[in-house]
Symmetry: C2
Subunit: 334 residues, 2 copies
């Protein structure tokens, strides 16, 4: 029988987790105090700290076993917990500096799964090039469902934060990262096309859903270049753009040809599942790319693609001046 | 039928919560950006930020309805989420500066219960005199059980953090706040003495369990006075003192007469339930008082009671030089 969480004390479980978080490197990374006291202490170079928090819950945000047979690994959940939090800092133009993590685990959870979760967290921080970010502490508890909450701090390194409310008519709307890939991956996970039989291109979409890769260099770069507004695309391009449009009191008009170009690489998955790939580009969340607005004179902006324009008008989102519903966006879809 | 969470959109629920958090006061309290963007921005006066995270889960950390008939209110859960996080900052000698909160809620949760949770959070911040602390953001999600995670930041205002590892033989062991009251309250909640029929003194113990009051002035005061080690008592006096003793490689010896004096006010509850009140003082958690060690020359220290001494020796905890098990401590009890 595999070792489960209810067979270990909290301190014994922690002893298995901490080394996997790279927590020992805390002091060398400019963090004053890491795990082991009541709170961690993190250096904040410019006297201001960004902070955000996000939770993933089993069967709501992920399934341990999907319809297509894929089993969500602890590594996936740890990676995604880090990625979605790091993305929130990126969206403000910041650089992540620390993570604290609270895990609620049923007693029957395998210890190996929890160890993988710690490895996924630290792999995401490393592979997404957030190497100045350190896991400094956390909390372990019991419950009937797996729930992982991370809170993240970040530094603006002297820059102003990029908020949602600064878009100006005449700005270019730009995007960094991927669009629709996580949604296509989710559709595959929920399909009956067995994961093991999928070709590599389609497996990569499942990976985009389970281990998203927010473009962590692009947030600070956009801030440096003077982006007027920015946010990450976590709930879908149209839905999130509408938030930015509302905060800025402008209309955001996407270029239908550009969106179609972004949809084309999703063609194979869409064909297999009988879907329109543009739906995923317009409505799909969890890619954690960046949506920003910039003055045309800073274009081209490395890492970003121009996807539309900011227009004066009511707070709304259009695609080629039409309602997104006319081009395949379903506002009831998740 | 009362309004439940599944009848409202996330944004409609947020609109009911945010005003109750006093989030509008964020800017005036020196916080740069409050809720509404991907991350909040908090001013950090001395270039270092303390950070901690804690989770409460339904049926693990609280029951919606207890054996004695008491119903845990949203206000209780919000208060406790704030209190236990604020206490972690206090334990380092810090002053809390911001809270972010992530709530996982079953769809059947009453909206009024969630509104009370927000009110409890902000009442705790206000009534515990943490008025420089602002709720700056959060996250709402669904699950099958209620789970509330808060992360807290704090400032040391230029002081050194007080860690667990600095206790020196010859130091006085001191305590601020209450001991055993939350455990006595828990025992009452788990008894069949109906809550409504309890006398005021016993109801106050239930309140100590549901709405603990960490002494938030005492942490910074102890740091200022040069406390050599400190932590909050969240898992029980003996258990937590053992952590401090281990981190500092010293023996902590409690004065049995002082502990007995602290146990005496719990006599009525102990008599009713047929328990030894000293058990609660030695083993009871969740009071979130402060355990600290100080050089004798700073005594008396306002707000703190001398409860023992730091002795050279193996990392252990004794009571009048005896094993705590000999005086009523049960290390298997929760």
């Amino acid at each position: 029988m595999p070792l489960t969480v209810n067979q270990l004390s909290e301190s014994a479980l922690l002893e298995r987790i901490l080394p996997r978080l790279g927590a020992g490197s805390a002091v060398s990374s400019g963090v004053h105090l890491g795990p082991g006291d009541d709170a961690a202490l993190v250096v904040v170079p410019d006297g201001r700290v960004l902070i955000s928090i996000d939770t993933q819950v089993q069967d709501m945000d992920f399934r341990l076993q999907w319809a297509n047979g894929y089993r969500t690994t602890g590594f996936d959940v740890g990676w995604k917990a880090a990625a979605q939090n790091l993305s929130d800092i990126n969206a403000m133009g910041g650089r992540p500096t620390s993570l604290v993590v609270s895990c609620t685990l049923p007693g029957s959870t395998e210890v190996a799964w929890v160890e993988e979760l710690a490895e996924g967290l630290s792999a995401a921080v490393r592979e997404l090039d957030a190497s100045t970010c350190v896991v400094v502490g956390g909390d372990l508890g019991r419950g009937t469902e797996i729930s992982v909450t991370a809170a993240v701090t970040g530094s603006l390194d002297g820059r102003a934060p990029v908020v949602r409310s600064g878009a100006q008519p005449g700005d270019v709307v730009v995007h960094a990262g991927v669009l629709g890939r996580a949604a296509a991956g989710l559709a595959l996970l929920e399909s009956d096309y067995e994961y093991g039989s999928l070709q590599a291109e389609l497996r990569a979409l499942v990976e985009a859903q389970c281990r998203p890769r927010p473009p962590l260099q692009s947030g600070p770069a956009a801030a440096e270049a003077g982006a007027t507004a920015m946010m990450d695309v976590s709930d879908g391009l149209v839905r999130d753009a509408l938030r930015l449009a509302s905060a800025s009191s402008v209309r955001i008009d996407f270029d239908p040809e550009v969106l179609q170009r972004l949809a084309d690489p999703l063609g194979a998955a869409a064909h297999l599942l009988g879907r329109d790939p543009l739906e995923w580009v317009l409505g799909g969340g969890e890619d954690h790319g960046l949506l920003a607005t910039v003055n045309p004179n800073v274009m081209p902006l490395a890492g970003f693609t121009a996807v539309g324009s900011v227009e004066a008008g009511l707070a709304e989102v259009t695609v080629g001046s039409q309602s997104p519903a006319n081009v395949g966006w379903d506002h009831f879809a998740d």
